[in-house]
Each structure stands twice: as C-alpha cells, then as structure tokens.
C-alpha cells in the first residue's frame, strides 16, 4: 500500500487533495457553525448518493452496461421501507434508539434482499440479452424503468407515501454551535460502513480482485480461465442491492416516497460516475461527497446557481481530467 502511494506521481495526488481543499476553502467565507452544518450535511448527502451510485459504477465499469433502470431499484428500496416502517410502526414511533435502529436495519435488510433478487431477475430476463449492444441497452432499460414504476403504482398506489423518520432520528445535535441532524450522522456512518465493506471486498478477496481486473480488461480475465458472465451476475445483483438500501436512506431523508424517487436521481448518479471515473469505487465515493458538498455550499452561498452546480462541477472536472478523477486502467 505504501509502495503504491509512493509510486504516485505529483499529478496523481491532486484528485486526493480536492476534497480537503474544497472543505478548507469554504471555511473563510462563512461562520464556523454554518460551515460545520453544511459540511456534515454535504457529507451525509454524499454518502446517500454513494450508496445509490456505487453499484452502477461497477456495472458500468465491469459489464459495460448502460442501464437506466438503476433508479427502479432505488424506488423499490424506498417503497419497501414504507412497507417495513408501516408494519413496524410501533418500533418506529417509540423513543428508543434500539427499536428505531432495529426497524431501520429491518428495512435495509428487506431492501437489500428484494432489490438484489429483482436485480437477478432483471439481469437474467433482460440485461443478458443485450450485452455489447449499447443502444439496445439504453432502450430496453428505459422501458424496464417505466414498467417498474407502473408496477410500483400497481402495488403501492399512485399517491406519494409519507416515510417519517423514526422518533430518535428526528431533531439535531448541537456540536460547536452547529445544528447537526441526527439522521445525517446515521447516513454518514452507514455510507462509511458500506464503503469500507466494498473496499475490503474488492481489495482483500479473490472475487474483488477479479472484479477489479474485469473492469480493466474483460478479455484477459477470460483468457486466464475465468467465466466472466458469472461475475457479471454477482456484480449486477450487488449493484441493485446497494441501490435498494440507497433508496431506503434517500426515502427517509426526503420523508416522502414517490414512484419517480429513483428516476429523479438517475442524472445525478451519472454525473457522479463521470466525475469519479467509470468503474472506480474510490472515485465514486469521492465524487459523491464532492457533489454533496458542492450542492450544500453553493445552495447557501449562491442559491441561484444551486441547480446547475453539479453540472458545472462535472464540466470543470472533465476539463481538468477528461476521464474523471480516478480513471480505471490509466496507470
């Protein structure tokens, strides 16, 4: 690891410095308490975005699949959270951290399993027929997204559904004079845990090694004797399962779930993937936090620019590094 870091050229360090530079650069232009509130909010938003985008960057990077249906699995996760929180309403409304965390864990587990299972069916029925055909992938996954949204309407109805946060997650903590929402802290912890888990999986297991190799050169992985299609299924299922838990967290953050909650995030997720570098989990993690921070800082400092801030960010990053911050296989 140390040798790897030491082998980086000076220019390669710059993307790693981007986040701390951004955080420090904004400190002089606002009060410390405002800065702290916005920074934590940005990190929390970034973590939720990471949960939703992490799977897609692997699907893109390894499988070269352009799936616009990723939002459907976010939507599924959010609606499953509505059902789980509805079924365990007593746990959710109790002022008990243990019960509140238990209901969140139940919702995350259900979303993880159901979204993963739905992803498996989607890959077997649809995606595997269009490997290598990008135009068909776009068309068929757009169709899949529309069908999924209509299935949601058929199951949960057309009206938006409330998804209130559990009692203990509501309100804020006052830290150094700054109001920090408790839920955002939970999102940060979960996001970091998922990132750490993915990092370990990718860097400490043979499956992870294969995924990283496959993102760079599928043909060579096959020439080494590995059946890459089996890996594709595993990555697709993992990606959709992560989207499901991202949907749970995003639904709770919004406290209102609509059938388009996932599809509305699609563009933002693609922006994160492009900024981070396709196929890079570390890049996705950095880009998601970057987008979360920029959205919060710009929303406070220049509200009129807030809407276009992420697109502007993407343009600037691409002008600097055309293949994203951490392009895979650039070594």
């Amino acid at each position: 690891m140390i040798a790897r870091w030491l082998s980086l050229r000076a220019g390669d360090w710059a993307p790693y410095a981007l986040l701390p530079l951004l955080v420090l650069a904004t400190l002089p232009v606002m009060s410390f308490s405002t800065w702290l509130t916005l920074t934590v909010a940005g990190f929390a938003m970034g973590m939720m975005l990471f949960l939703m985008a992490a799977g897609l960057t692997l699907i893109f990077g390894l499988m070269q699949v352009f799936t616009f249906a990723h939002g459907a699995f976010i939507t599924l996760g959010a609606y499953l959270a509505v059902s789980v929180f509805g079924a365990l309403a007593g746990w959710s409304s109790a002022t008990s951290w243990a019960l509140n965390l238990a209901v969140l864990a139940a919702a995350l587990a259900v979303a993880l399993l159901a979204s993963g299972a739905a992803g498996y069916v989607f890959e077997r029925l649809i995606i595997r027929r269009v490997y290598g055909a990008h135009l068909r992938q776009i068309l068929i996954t757009m169709g899949g997204l529309i069908i999924a949204e209509q299935l949601v309407v058929a199951i949960w109805g057309a009206n938006p559904l409330p998804l209130p946060k559990p009692a203990s997650f509501q309100g804020s903590l006052i830290i150094a004079g700054a109001a920090i929402e408790k839920y955002r802290l939970i999102a940060v912890v979960l996001g970091l845990a998922v990132y750490a888990g993915l990092h370990l999986l990718l860097n400490r297991t043979r499956v992870g090694l294969l995924v990283r190799a496959g993102v760079e050169n599928i043909e060579m992985v096959e020439a080494l004797g590995y059946r890459i299609r089996r890996l594709f299924i595993g990555v697709f299922v993992t990606g959709t399962a992560l989207a499901g838990i991202g949907g749970v967290m995003w639904g709770l953050y919004q406290e209102l779930v609509t059938r388009s909650i996932g599809s509305e995030m699609t563009i933002l997720i693609f922006i994160i993937l492009i900024i981070g570098g396709l196929g890079s989990i570390g890049g996705c993690f950095t880009a998601a936090i970057l987008v979360g921070l920029v959205t919060n800082y710009v929303g406070f400092l220049a509200p009129k620019l807030a809407l276009g801030s992420t697109i502007l960010l993407m343009m600037l990053v691409l002008l600097w590094r055309p293949r994203g911050l951490f392009p895979v296989g650039a070594g």
Binding site: S7, R206, L209, E216, E219, E222, G225, G329
Partner: protein, 242 residues
C-alpha cells in the same frame, strides 16, 4: 496427426465482421518445442493466436488440442486446458499490483512458493516491484510480468504474441534468455515474433504466414541458414538483423 503434436490447426478460416482474415490455416505445434510463427505485418499471426484462444471464432476448419477439438469452446474453457496466452498488448492489469496480476493466474490455493521463486529468479526486477501497480512498470517489466503470469502455474502450452515489440535490445536479450530457460523445462511454446534475431535464437520449428495462410513450415535453423528463403518469405536479410 501424431501424438507428437500438441496443437493442430487444419483449414482454419476466420472472419472479423465482413473481413476474411484467415484463409485455411494449417499449423502443427509439436510437444516440448518452441514453434515460431513469423510473417509480415497483417499476415494473420495475431488473428491465428486469438482464434486458437477462442477470442475470435473460427468460421471453418478444425482446431485440436492434444487430439480433442477445441474450436467450439469458450475462451475460459480453452484456458483451463492449460493454455496460457500473452497478447500483443500484454494484457496487464495496470491498476493491480505485480503480486495481484500474478495471483490472478494461480489456482484457488494461491502461489506455489517453489514455482514463484523460479519465476522471480527468471525476472528479478519483478521482485523489487512486487507491491507496485503494474501500470507503473516500464514496457520491458510489463512484458516480464505478462510472461511470468503465463508461467506462474504449470501450463501445457504457452502462446505469446510479439513479446519484443517496442523493447530495448537489452530487454530483448533478457527475454531471449528467459525463453531459452523455459525451453529447458520442455514447455511447449508458440511464439509470434517480428524480431528475426529473437526468432533465430530461440526457435526450434517455424511456420511463416502470408495473407492468412501458412506458406512455409520447417526448422528454424534451416530458415536462419537460408538468406534467399528469408528474402522470399519475409522480405528481410539476416545480415540486417544481427
């Protein structure tokens, strides 16, 4: 076909899109020998290797490995027969460390320490770069890594595509030494090469391709000794490749 032949191509045709690249290739690779596949640019050498590995599908003809047809097998199944392939671009995973690149080519139990020692002895430079990303290696070191990866497990056939391409003479000599040592282990090798000095130094048998066909087969020593034949087949004189 005799038992002496490990790999045999008979009348193999390959199309890539609407282009007809191989026009009935007949090739035999004998066990325990190093067979050179020579030819001008565009003769079809790389396509032949990729067709053997199933990376491009043959449109006609038969490919047999140890007597069994493999032309219809998928690439991973062909590799699992014990065929290692080093492509022209080396196929190095730049983001992975040297260790991880080699580990991918081992079985579930990981490295065989004795064999790893042998490979590291073959290319000591790799030992020093063990935990560095492969993308940070020089061109020569990448080629050493690609060849090491191909032999980190015992293979029945080693297929290598232009290992000396773009390398400095000192590195080429290192590769020649490595192939000579591999020959000492009776490894069967099929080697595509444009560098005639390398071919002459390591080759036992030779097949020359032109326009998608094998136009000459024989011993490498005989071709190296016949300058007129070289001129005819390859358009070069040995004197210019000393």
């Amino acid at each position: 076909m005799t038992n002496d032949i490990l790999l045999e191509l008979a009348g193999v045709h390959t199309h890539i899109g609407r282009y007809h690249i191989l026009h009935g290739v007949d090739l035999a690779v004998r066990r325990g020998r190093l067979t050179m596949l020579l030819g001008r640019n565009g003769a079809g050498k790389t396509t032949t290797l990729r067709t053997i590995m199933g990376l491009w599908r043959r449109s006609a003809g038969e490919i047999r490995f140890d007597g069994a047809p493999i032309g219809a097998l998928a690439t991973p199944d062909i590799a699992r027969l014990g065929i290692a392939y080093v492509p022209e671009n080396m196929g190095i995973f730049a983001e992975l460390t040297v260790r991880e690149n080699l580990l991918l080519a081992t079985g579930p139990e990981g490295f065989d320490e004795a064999r790893l020692e042998d490979v590291q002895a073959l290319f000591p430079a790799l030992r020093e770069k063990w935990n560095n990303p492969a993308g940070s290696l020089s061109g020569g070191q990448k080629q050493m890594l690609a060849i090491s990866r191909a032999i980190i497990e015992e293979r029945r056939l080693l297929i290598v595509d232009e290992p000396t391409k773009g390398l400095a003479p000192a590195v080429i000599q290192l590769l020649i030494d490595a192939f000579l040592r591999l020959k000492g282990t009776a490894t069967t090798i099929l080697l595509v090469e444009q560098n005639f000095h390398m071919a002459r130094s390591v080759g036992d048998d030779v097949a020359v391709m032109d326009d998608g066909r094998i136009v000459h087969t024989g011993s490498m020593a005989a071709l190296a000794a016949d300058e007129a034949l070289q001129q005819h087949l390859l358009g070069l004189s040995l004197a210019s490749h000393q």
